[in-house]
């Protein structure tokens, strides 16, 4: 099976500050990667469905998904992902500000691989991004 050299990450995030932190945080990793950013749920679904302007989009190796995004929320994106065969083994990391128990539960029920709450403290935020990079890119991708 052809192994791509670059890891494609889909980042579904509407806050520009968070996008910036993620892009910077992943730069420190060892593996070559490309971060594709969409800012709302409909764009995420179009990207993953390779519709219209996204018809040449890469199939992501990892999806980082905020829940509170405009146009369609993160749960709707999760529902869409569940219906796509080609995404059945694509890890989805929910990365969101909500700490609400019902959000955590629902994300897992919709088959998110894991749920991460964005830390308020910037240092902790950076450490968290590094932990995502180290685990999902360096460890998992290297298998």
């Amino acid at each position: 099976m052809y192994e791509k050299e670059t890891v494609d990450i889909l980042l579904v995030e509407d806050n520009p500050g968070d996008v910036r932190l993620m892009v910077e945080g992943f730069k420190e990793g060892k593996i070559s990667h490309e971060i594709h950013t969409v800012n709302d749920g409909e764009a995420a679904i179009d990207f993953l469905g390779r519709k219209e302007k996204y018809r040449h989009a890469a199939v992501p190796d990892l999806i980082l998904l905020d829940l509170k995004i405009p146009r369609k929320n993160g749960f709707e994106v999760l529902e869409f992902i569940n219906k796509q065969n080609e995404l059945s083994e694509t890890p989805v990391v929910v990365l969101t500000s909500s700490e609400a128990e019902e959000d955590i539960l629902r994300a897992y029920e919709l088959n998110a691989n894991c749920y991460v709450t964005k830390p308020l403290d910037i240092d902790r935020y950076v450490v968290m991004i590094k932990s995502i990079e180290e685990f999902w890119i360096t460890v998992i991708r290297n298998q």
């Binding site: 059945s88 083994e89 890890p91 700490e99 128990e101 955590i104 539960l105 994300a107 897992y108 029920e109 088959n111 691989n113 894991c114 749920y115 991460v116 709450t117 450490v127 968290m128 590094k130 932990s131 995502i132 180290e134 685990f135 999902w136 360096t138 460890v139 998992i140 290297n142 298998q143």
Partner: protein, 136 residues
């Protein structure tokens, strides 16, 4: 992890040397961590049935005596589990698919080489114990 910052991990691993290694790597964080080791599938199942609700993460080998990892997961299907990380020698597509069908959160093939193994378990600790929220 709970409010007091104690992370409880169930490690189901029949290779005693690896279990010791994983325990040591998982243990080196600021947060207090309690690691319970199950040496075979029956042990793992027993611990899950008794304390399943209390663990923050389960690190589960597939190939274990008495009951394998899949049988353990099958037996607790439907109950609320913390994140289940499969850590196994297998790299078969069939096993990966089966693991996800059984709602495992992640499937990791044990890397060859001690350095990579340490890196893997350290990454597991930093991500799954220190940053991932479980559903209560």
């Amino acid at each position: 992890m709970d409010e007091k910052g104690i992370a409880r991990v169930l490690l189901a691993e029949d290779n005693a040397a690896e279990a010791r290694l994983f325990k040591e790597i998982l243990g080196t964080i600021d947060t207090e961590i309690e690691i319970s080791i199950a040496k075979d599938g029956e042990d793992a199942l027993k611990m899950l049935l008794e304390d399943g609700g209390d663990y923050d993460m389960i690190l589960l080998d597939i190939n274990m005596p008495k009951k394998d990892g899949f049988e353990v997961l099958e037996s607790v299907r439907g109950s609320k589990l913390p994140p289940v990380i499969i850590l196994t020698t297998s790299d078969s597509e069939k096993d990966i698919q089966k693991a996800y069908d059984m709602n495992a959160n992640c499937f990791i093939t044990k890397p060859a080489g001690l350095d990579k193994m340490i890196e893997t378990v350290a990454a597991i600790r930093k991500f799954w114990i220190e940053n991932v929220r479980r559903a209560i």
